[in-house]
Symmetry: C2
């Protein structure tokens, strides 16, 4: 009887090894041959699942996004979740996430040099933004009443800050223990919320003043 192979699982397994190899060795040194060897397969076996290294990278990006989404969704289901704890799931605060984030930065660093990879991965940034927008709506429901421009600015500011912590923590891990990452994100969210609250309150007062004239 032929051995049953879960192909999706094997693709994920290779993608995960690729993510770890790129985080550990850098983008170029993590060759398909190296990835295959580390995963315990032949290069031919990996070629059976992926046409090119770029396809492996794409699978790794999909896998990481799926993992982040899963963590965010699980958090949301616990009832005790807040935006800070949910977004902290995306930061490099433990070994697995440090690997994912190191891969992520290596990927960013490769993009200007690789127009084809850039073309293939445009969807990643859209998907990443969609995830953050969703977190914002779910955990700060008042944001649904904000003007669209304010919603977009707050969401973009959150992503930018998470990216900034990620880049800083990957490049200077000693300056960025997990507690410092979370503390900085906490302060950023508090400032954003206070500022958005103040600007919508002003707008409300202005509207009232207008109505009363």
């Amino acid at each position: 009887m032929p051995k049953l192979v879960d192909h999706a699982q094997r693709r994920d397994e290779i993608a995960l090894v690729a993510c770890q190899a790129i985080a550990r060795r850098g983008f170029a040194q993590a060759t398909v041959a190296h990835i295959a060897r580390t995963a315990g397969y032949t290069t031919g076996m990996v070629a059976h699942y992926f046409d090119s290294k770029q396809q492996i990278i794409l699978a790794a990006l999909r896998l990481i996004l799926r993992r982040i989404e899963l963590r965010l969704t699980q958090r949301a289901g616990t009832g005790s979740s807040d935006l800070l704890s949910v977004l902290s799931e995306a930061l490099p605060i433990d070994a697995q996430r440090r690997t994912e984030c190191a891969f992520w930065i290596a990927f960013w660093g490769q993009l200007p040099a690789d127009p084809e990879l850039k073309r293939l991965t445009g969807w990643v940034h859209r998907e990443y933004r969609r995830l953050f927008d969703r977190c914002l709506r779910e955990h700060w429901p008042e944001s649904l009443r904000w003007p669209a421009r304010l919603q977009a600015d707050v969401s973009r500011s959150i992503i930018t800050y998470v990216n900034g912590i990620t880049a800083s923590a990957v490049s200077s891990p000693r300056d960025w223990p997990a507690s410092e990452q979370v503390a900085q994100l906490r302060m950023h969210l508090a400032r954003l919320r206070a500022s958005a609250g103040a600007s919508t309150a002003t707008e409300h007062t202005e509207k009232q003043a207008w109505t009363l004239r």
Copy 2:
């Protein structure tokens, strides 16, 4: 008579070509041979100036920091400078800065994979922080009266945001035209300043209340 060669200038020239090559080709593909060829020298000539590729990278990092510092200082001397326009000098808002920032992200992406490079470049992050601290002191002089913890948090938040814009703009340049980078930084600085002002005002009131007891 032997030709006079300005060695410091030649080192800078090679470092600049290295920065451009890494931004364009990625970290690993920008070999010493490629850098030498692009600069119009032989590999042997480059070896006369630098012992290793890491030494070239170090020179490129020094060169970029010196350029940022120069831009910040020139700005400071014009009298019409403010923190936003000064810090915008560090963002990827034109071709030269896009190249510098793409190099910067490629460097960050390489760090987890290269402990020796990481060891050699610890000073870069300290120097970068020192530059931002100085800008904060010069352009928001009220920050000198803030508690040390608040000064440190605000400075770190600014660097984190600049890093976040840099990473986002290098990886998704279409979503981040220069105007959007500056607009996002402007909002971040305004929120930070309002929040720091509010927290020091509260502290002041608390102190007064304490004195009046």
